[in-house]
Amino acid sequence: MFFTYLARELRRRSRQAAVVAIGLGIGIGLVVTVSSASAGVKSAQTQVLHSLYGVGTDMTVTETPSTSTFGPQRFGGFAGGTRPTGPFSQTHVRTTPGSSTIAQSRVTEVGHLQDVNAATGGLSLTETAVSGTFGSSGSGPSSSTGTAPSFNFNSTSISGVQPTDTGVGLLSASDVTKGRYFKTSENDAKVAIVSSTYAKDKSLSVGSTVDVDGTSLRVIGIATPPSSSTSTDLYVPLGEAQTLAGIGAKVTTIYVSVNSASNVSTVQSEIKKLMPSATVTTSADLANEVTGSLSSASSLATDLGRWLAIAALLASFLVAALLMLAAVSRRVREFGTLKAIGWRTRRVTGQVMGEGLVQGAIGAVLGLVLGLIGVELVSAFAPTLTATVGPSFATGQGNPGGGTFPGGEGFRSRPGGFAGSGPGGGFANRFADLSHTVLVHLTAPIQGGTLGIAIGLALVGGLLAGTVGAWRAARMSPAEALRQVG
């Protein structure tokens, strides 16, 4: 009798039941979509952070750079101090402007700290190649006679990585999609792993050779790092990278993995004690630095999205409760009759609450369907978002684009004035890499917990509506109910 009565009643007021179910469905659908979009944004943020300082890394250690690291890039080799004429070509490999070096022994010291899982060193280098032609009659930039010089700049970003794959750092074996990762014995070997973007641009494959400042490196692998916009073109064993830069046993970054998230702050403090002048950046610090459309999307999903979902849900609950109340009010005589023939109040209220619960269940199913559609739409049409993190020292100090000729005259880079080619681009692009930008395609992954919560909310909504109606039905006395006009 319970289910027969319930089903017949819902069918009788099917339009009203549909309104309640649709209202609940929209609220639930929004909850699912917004929750999934938020999860997608969080996932994107994690992806961004991983790509910025590597997989499995909880913090990075760098030395605060001095202003001289932004100083003019010097190209030497002109004898006698005379101004050159004719064609000119020079290449050098230096640590990336804006970074300072750390003794490699520090990597071991950090690795021995308590609660540190692993520590690896990384060396960030830039190979800069300048070629062009000096003007005739010894003209230089400061000369007002003769033909103007023209130069081309090319730069290639190089990362020196420890050949042992500790799962911490800028590159891991799992990132290598063709060929292989470095062997432990290849610390000083003349081998390289190239990024897939660089390989495509330079038509490189496993077995090719690539020239770095006159040194031929054999390509042993092609990698697709976590983010497609990471700026490293070549990954080289750390020892070989140090040889190319001529800097000895030094690194520019120490990547640290901690045994537990709760120990991050402790380890951060210990490293600061060990290296007082170092900058220790945790993922939380890095997250605060992230700007760009990903950051905006995060705010949107968290603030506007959440409140929109809550508002829609509350509105749907209210509509459901009001409609249920109206339905019960129209059935006053019916409930009075049932009480008159001996139905207990709780039996009558149970019937009403059952109707509410079923409407909630229908709303849950509808909400899940709408939520899944919303998620698919977000994944299909979400724009590619950008996330930029820029350490504060990278803004506007020194002359990042400048260089000098021996003889002391300097030149300044002009936006577009010195053309660069290749993935690394010119000086301007290289310094843009200090404020690291990552492109991320937003998805909206559905999580089991979200679905469970959504179903629960819909059932609660239906039950709430049923309770409101049941309260009204319970308050009726049979005589009073029967006195109501039909």
Binding site: M1, T4, Y5, R8, E9, R11, R12, R333, E334, T337, L338, K339, A340, I341, G342, W343, R344, T345, R347, S477, P478, A479, E480, L482, G486
Partner: protein, 229 residues
């Protein structure tokens, strides 16, 4: 079976007190057919609701089988309504979404009988009112007379001791009225029920063993051997 002693029922409406019943004294014997007559709005239905434990008197005592209904809890009153009282209403009051058979079964739900038992007894009840062929029809698919027959079946399926009918022929045409009254009379005689009928219909009143009149909430008796005011 029933004894009403100085029963009054007052209602409050918009700050005013309306006396629906005032100082009613009445005794109803087991197996009696009592007709309650009077102009509209004089307290007839109110009397019926007190007899059927649908409401409580403002003052006085309504005693059913030596139990004062005014002192019983809501649960006890509900149980009485479930087992002992059958109701027939002027507007039939069938549940619109349930068919005839299910409407009759609804009266057995509070008795917690099994589904099979409910089905059997509902079938028998519909047979006794001559509506077996309409068991699966919804109320909207039945005539007024047929709906009232279903209501009678619903009232009688639980085998009550008392049948309380409020203007059972009020919404019926003359021919159907006769049928329904005839049916009720037969069932009353067959089952030894105590029957209390509120009616304007003089043909119904003529068939009663006793008639009482209510005017301005006060009772007067015509015929029979009951207490007079």
């Amino acid at each position: 079976m029933y004894e009403l002693i100085d029963v009054s029922k007052h209602f409050s409406a918009r700050g005013r007190v309306v006396a629906a019943l005032e100082g009613v004294n009445l005794t109803i014997a087991r197996g009696e057919f009592l007709a309650v007559r009077g102009p509209t709005g004089q307290g007839k239905t109110t009397l019926l609701t007190l007899l059927g434990a649908l409401d409580r008197p403002t003052s006085g005592a309504v005693t059913y089988q030596d139990r004062n209904l005014a002192t019983l809890s809501e649960v006890q009153l509900t149980e009485l309504r479930a087992k002992s009282f059958g109701f027939i209403f002027q507007t039939f009051n069938l549940i619109p979404t349930l068919n005839a058979h299910e409407n009759v079964q609804a009266a057995l739900v509070p008795l917690r009988t099994s589904s099979a038992e409910r089905h059997r007894r509902a079938t028998e009840a519909l047979e006794s009112v001559g509506l077996s062929s309409r068991a699966t029809h919804l109320p909207t698919e039945l005539s007024g007379g047929q709906q009232q027959r279903v209501a009678i079946a619903r009232a009688l399926v639980k085998e009550p001791e008392v049948l309380l009918a409020d203007e059972p022929t009020g919404n019926l045409d003359e021919e159907t009225r006769s049928e329904i009254i005839g049916l009720m009379m037969n069932l009353w005689q067959e089952r030894g029920l105590t029957l209390v009928v509120v009616t304007h219909d003089s043909t119904v009143a003529r068939r009663a063993t006793r008639v009482v009149h209510i005017r301005d909430g006060r009772l007067s008796v015509q015929g029979g051997s009951l207490v007079q005011r």
